[in-house]
């Protein structure tokens, strides 16, 4: 079984996550970030998946629906969405993952599966959970935590990350949760495998002692007693924890190698189906090095950009190095560079907006500029 916790707060996406959790942040032209972990699970034959929500979860429910688009509308198992609910005296607001897991202990308990994959929702990658499970079983591990090496990890990054330290044979001997000074480069992918009985024990021990963080309070304090292994993932990981990283990872998808690793390699990434017609490139359009979803109408010039579904780019507009989310409309004779337009933004004719590559300009959902 799989459990996805969408309440993580170690991220800083400003306006992009004001009205939605990072899980449903649009990504890569037609996906939401949660699509990647959900697809990993479904492709690895996990068909019993619980999604724990926290604040502003209407977009999670709207996006996932019955789970049909992920083939999760099942009689046996399927998709379960858990709105926040009170554990002990938390009043329905989870302080951390352990509390969240405790709130669905009944669901974990009655599930038929022996193992549990526990995941966060702000990283996009394409990983075979079957291979990771095989590693887990070969090592006879109690817990296997997935990580990747980030050679460019900065201090700013590490404050958003959990870092692992492993022995040469892969055993984890230390964990640092959001350290100010990076200890190594092994970034925990917020993805672990363990038996559900162990998970319930760890969660219970945490919560009854007033602790709430599964990794810090549940796993870190048991590194001696339990066999905890690190599973290194060598593929592309889009860790979306800041506006800058959101922008960079979207732009990286213009590179075919990255697309292959993230989207096309292991199979399809499943997402909610929208019934959009194909995109029209008008006779005056000029599109170079772009990812373009369906339903767009392009009359202007677009370069090095990602266009989500149903975007309209009018005549004389020039869009460069930008991310334009679903349903936005860029008016005539405008100039956009290094800009992120959230959904349904309107840029009126003649305006120009210019951000910087390391500080893209974000326009909030539904705003008219």
């Amino acid at each position: 079984m799989g459990i996805i916790y969408t309440g993580e707060r170690n991220i800083d996406l400003q306006d992009l996550t004001r009205a939605r959790p990072v899980a449903t942040l649009p990504f890569g032209g037609r996906y939401r970030i949660i699509d990647f972990i959900l697809s990993n699970m479904v492709r690895s034959s996990i068909t019993n998946i619980g999604v724990i929500t926290q604040s502003n979860y209407s977009s999670v429910i709207d996006h996932l629906g019955s789970g049909a688009d992920w083939d999760l509308d099942r009689r046996r198992d399927g998709l379960f969405i858990f709105p926040p609910c009170s554990v002990q005296d938390t009043g329905g607001w989870f302080k951390g993952s352990a509390e969240a897991l405790q709130s669905i202990a009944h669901y974990i308990q009655r599930s038929r599966q022996k193992y549990c994959v526990v995941s966060g929702s702000h990283m996009a990658y394409s990983l075979s959970l079957e291979q990771m499970m095989q590693y887990h079983q070969e090592r006879a591990a109690d817990i296997t935590m997935a990580y990747y090496e980030d050679p460019q990890l900065t201090q700013v990054d590490s404050a958003h990350c959990t870092l692992l330290q492993t022995t040469p044979d892969g055993r984890i001997y230390d964990i640092a949760v959001q350290p100010r000074t990076p200890s190594g480069r092994k970034v925990y992918m917020e993805l672990c495998i363990l038996e559900k009985e162990l998970l319930l024990q760890l969660v219970d021990k945490c919560v009854v002692r007033g602790h709430y963080h599964l990794v810090r309070d549940g796993i870190l304090s048991n590194l001696q007693a339990l066999q905890v292994y690190g599973y290194q993932f060598a593929g592309y990981v889009a860790r979306v924890d800041s506006v800058q990283s959101y922008y960079q990872h979207n732009m990286a998808l213009l590179d075919q190698k990255v697309r292959d690793q993230l989207i096309t390699s292991a199979g399809k990434v499943l997402t909610k189906v929208k019934n959009e017609p194909p995109t029209r490139h008008a006779s005056g359009a000029r599109v170079r090095n772009c990812l373009v979803a369906n339903g767009c109408r392009i009359y202007g010039e677009v370069e090095n950009s990602v266009l989500f579904r149903g975007v309209r780019i009018d005549k004389g507009a020039r869009v460069c190095n930008s991310i334009i989310m679903q349903g936005s409309h860029v008016g005539e004779d405008t100039l956009l560079e290094q800009v992120v337009l959230d959904k349904s933004v309107v840029i009126s004719p003649g305006k120009s907006l210019i951000g910087q590559a390391n500080y893209p300009l974000v326009i909030s959902k539904g705003v008219t500029v």
Binding site: R259, V269, N275, P277, P278, V287
Partner: protein, 383 residues
């Protein structure tokens, strides 16, 4: 089972042999159209958008892909507890059983399907036309006239009229005369193959027709003329929108070019009349720095490195570097290899066009359409 006011019977068993290799192993209604759709999507979407939720789809020729495409009808909102989509292939009964021998015979063999819903009206449709039509308006017209039969008609150019069922009407729309594919047409009001019948009237005539050995059991050739001769109240319902019979290679190609006109002659972007389809799961399409795409429609999952002009590119298509694709239709998952130049071509699903095969196809200058499929290359369809 609950009753329904109107049940639609969609004729989708046609072989479509005028589409040549495109329908070698594919029923005509399942032929791809418009960048992501199949021809049958337009009729099914019309049903959904007109509030008709009970549709029997009569299939016969090469039904494998068509059946799996239709599934339980979920993409068109036709997975309903009562009604929804029902696929109706020919069947055996007792020791008998036969193929559908004509359009009327196909409906006749499924009278029991219609009976389940005890409808007041039966809407008969065909699955090989591209158009957007509100059947509920036609039904209101039918009811207002107190008609037994209403036939949707559209004006066609006089020189093409002999390809259609042609009607002569009084000023109030009542049909006086109906000629199926007349050599010398008296008018240019052509039947669109969209009929509304009062259920009791249809049932009576179909049962009678089934017993007539001389009949070819066809609506246009037999049943409609018979009804007219018996004095039934029959009206023509004028349709003024875009309608195209895409039953030939030329008309299929032309209809695609109509989508590319600016503004398009047939608009796929109308939010009040969505065209529903089974959506492929594909990433956004990618236009490379070397690519040049103009005046074209491109769907998801495609990757374009070459030059595409005035063409329709379906989902999952690969267009290699140093290519020119002009005035062409590239169907799902086809591959256009590097260096290929295509003019006025239709490339079938999953076909691979190499430089060699493209050279054989010609340059389209003489007005010929080349059709490429994984089975063969066919040339010289004159447009």
């Amino acid at each position: 089972m609950g009753t329904k006011e109107c049940v639609a019977m969609l004729l989708a068993g046609g072989q479509g042999n005028r589409l040549g290799i495109l329908t070698k192993d594919l029923a005509k209604p399942a032929v791809p159209f418009g960048g992501k759709y199949r021809i049958i999507d337009f009729t099914l979407s019309n049903c959904t958008n007109s509030g008709i939720d009970t549709v029997g789809v009569l299939t016969q020729y090469e039904p494998l892909k068509l059946h799996s495409y239709l599934g339980i009808g979920q993409p068109w909102d036709l997975d309903r507890l009562v009604g929804g989509i029902s696929i109706l292939p020919p069947y055996t009964s007792g020791k008998r059983g036969e193929w559908y021998s004509g359009t009327a015979n196909a409906v006749y063999q499924n009278l029991r399907f219609i009976m389940q819903y005890d409808p007041a009206y039966v809407l008969v449709l065909s699955g090989d036309h591209v158009y957007k039509m509100d059947y509920s308006k036609m039904l209101a017209y039918h009811r207002d006239n107190g008609a037994s039969v209403t036939i949707a008609v559209i004006k066609v150019p006089m020189e093409e009229a002999s390809r259609f069922g042609i009607m002569t009407t009084r000023s109030d729309g009542r049909i006086e005369r109906f000629d199926e594919k007349p050599e010398k047409p008296e008018s240019n009001l052509a039947s669109m193959g969209v009929y509304i019948f009062n259920w009791s009237v249809l049932r009576t005539y179909l049962i009678e027709d089934a017993g007539m050995e001389s009949s070819s059991h066809d609506f246009g050739k037999d049943v409609i003329p018979r009804m007219l001769s018996m004095g039934e109240r029959m009206y023509a319902y004028r349709f003024n929108g875009y309608w195209k019979d895409v039953g030939t290679v030329e008309s299929l190609w032309e209809a695609h070019m109509d989508l590319l006109a600016e503004p398009p002659l047939f608009d796929l972007y109308d939010p009040s009349w969505r065209i529903y389809a089974r959506n492929p799961v594909e990433p956004p399409h990618y236009i490379a720095p070397t690519a040049q795409v103009k005046g074209s429609i491109v769907s998801e999952g495609s990757v374009v490195y070459g030059q595409v002009e005035h063409s329709v590119i379906f989902h999952g298509v690969y267009i290699g570097p140093n290519t020119i694709v002009r005035d062409s239709v590239i169907m799902p998952y086809a591959e256009i290899e590097a260096g290929v130049e295509l003019y006025k071509a239709i490339v079938a699903e999953q076909a691979v066009v190499t430089q060699n095969s493209a050279a054989e196809g010609g340059d389209g200058k003489a007005g010929a359409i080349s059709v490429y499929s994984s089975l063969a290359l066919t040339r010289n369809y004159t447009a």
